[in-house]
């Protein structure tokens, strides 16, 4: 069991800056995020897109913003628990016991939900009977490519993941690539490579088709794909891979007894606490009159939530407001010696 002052759910800009504010006021935190990297939407959705409304930064990309925020909290040495998701929370004598999907356990008086619009999960096939094969022969990510050796693999999607795996797996497997339209959005070099492999008959491509049905009882035997003109084709398959990008799901947060309004969590604007004592919500996931879904609003919310956490983490101490410019204590915390 990991003991901490605050557990932050979500390593996007809001969660990161809240961690900074916690560090400044002398609290410890642990950060859990479902993605395998730090940065949330900034890094997953728009790492290269310029952002123009971060105060005092005329222009920066999602990746630059993330890297700067990571730099800013380096002195505090907070732990990140990536590729993991908070699954369950339980109240126990003024504290929360938090369990993750991977089995980690935390004991904390404060939880800060900075979960954006939810955790990123792969978009799945919209075909009902795919479900029973999911995790076995229907996959949305690849852990061990060796399982595909000498097998028939059908890959769906038009982005880099689909193209890269089609190219890679075509070396040792019979690969069919299916995409809903003629244009692929993957890197031009990969698109070129795919077309080359097709002309060498090393893989087959069907465009303007999408998944219609999966046939098989214990194992998949074949799949049916269909185009908009209603023509369908049957393809023999051992494995089906879908690369349709990521969607965001609130997931287990919905089951914690929090008030939820249109996928958002109402909070008070004094300290961003929710209807549950010791649970705060900041950033895109929180809502209150006048809420703006801006990164800068998330920063403000994180700063106030951090102070809100102080009273539960240090019930016998009085919080003292200090400036980073003048306070020796604060400077000490960020490792600046005078």
């Amino acid at each position: 069991m990991i003991h901490t002052d605050v557990l932050i759910i979500g390593a996007g800009p809001t969660g990161l800056f809240c961690a900074h504010q916690l560090g400044i006021i002398g609290l410890k935190c642990e950060v859990v995020d479902n993605l395998d990297k730090i940065g949330g939407q900034c890094i997953e959705l728009y790492p290269d897109k310029p952002i123009y409304d971060i105060p005092a930064i005329p222009e920066c990309t999602g990746e630059e913003l993330t890297n700067n925020l990571i730099d800013q909290i380096k002195p505090f040495n907070f732990n990140f628990h990536l590729s993991d998701r908070v699954q369950e929370i339980k109240n126990e004598s003024e504290k929360w016991i938090v369990k993750t999907l991977k089995g980690k356990e935390f004991l904390t008086p404060n939880i800060v939900i900075a979960g954006g619009v939810g955790s990123f999960e792969p978009r799945k096939f919209p075909v009902e009977n795919c479900k029973k094969f999911e995790g076995k022969e229907v996959l949305y990510s690849i852990k061990d490519k060796n399982i595909f050796k000498d097998k028939k693999v059908v890959i769906f999607g038009g982005g880099d993941s689909a193209l890269d795996w089609a190219i890679e797996l075509s070396k040792n497997s019979k690969v069919t690539l299916v995409h809903r339209r003629d244009e692929f959005r993957g890197a031009p070099s990969s698109v070129g490579k795919i077309k080359e492999l097709e002309s060498e008959k090393k893989l087959e491509i069907f465009t303007k088709y999408s998944m219609q049905n999966v046939n098989g009882n214990e194992k998949i035997e074949n799949i049916e794909i269909k185009n908009e003109e209603g023509q369908s084709k049957i393809i023999d398959a051992d494995y089906i891979l879908g690369f349709f990008g990521l969607i965001m799901q609130l997931g287990p947060i919905l089951e914690w007894g929090l008030n939820i309004d249109k996928k958002m969590i109402p909070v008070n604007t004094e300290n961003f606490e929710t209807n549950k004592k010791g649970i705060f919500a900041i950033g895109d996931i929180c809502t209150y009159p006048g809420k703006l879904k801006l990164i800068l609003s998330g920063f403000h919310e994180g700063a106030l939530a951090a102070r809100g956490c102080f009273k539960y983490a240090r019930p016998n101490e009085k919080y003292r407001f200090e400036f980073t410019t003048t306070s020796k204590t604060v400077k000490g915390r960020i490792g600046i010696k005078e």
């Binding site: 939407q41 959705l45 728009y46 619009v117 939810g118 978009r123 919209p126 999607g157 038009g158 982005g159 995409h179 809903r180 339209r181 244009e183 959005r185 999408s210 908009e228 349709f244 990008g245 990521l246 969607i247 965001m248 799901q249 996928k263 895109d284 879904k293």
Partner: protein
């Protein structure tokens, strides 16, 4: 104001007036029309404001912006009449537009 009709997957129709300059997505969200999630808030970074526009209207709308089809690849059951409603700006030219909402967004 411009009339837009949103038809849910189950056939439930909502005809509302939307101010010029807003997007078709914003018109739905501001009027609490179920079936449009708009998770990213209109940044063309998700595909949860996906709508279908039938041929007659589809061809009258301004063409898809660059990257819109890439996002639509990631929508729930996209087809050739799919659009992202955050990318359709409401103007007098589209008065009477009808959009069909998919069964779900995520």
């Amino acid at each position: 104001m411009v009339k837009i009709k949103y038809i849910e997957h189950d056939g439930n129709e909502h005809e509302i007036e939307v101010a010029q300059g807003l997007s078709v997505m914003e018109g739905a969200v501001q009027n609490n029309i179920p079936g449009i999630d708009a998770d990213c808030g209109g940044g063309m970074s998700c595909a949860t404001c996906h709508v279908y526009v039938k041929e007659d209207w589809f061809n009258k709308l301004p063409k898809k912006t660059e990257g819109e089809d890439d996002m639509l690849d990631q929508a729930y059951k996209p087809n050739s009449s799919s659009r992202l409603s955050c990318q359709i700006t409401v103007s007098d030219e589209i008065n009477g537009l009808v959009v069909h909402l998919p069964e779900k967004q995520v």
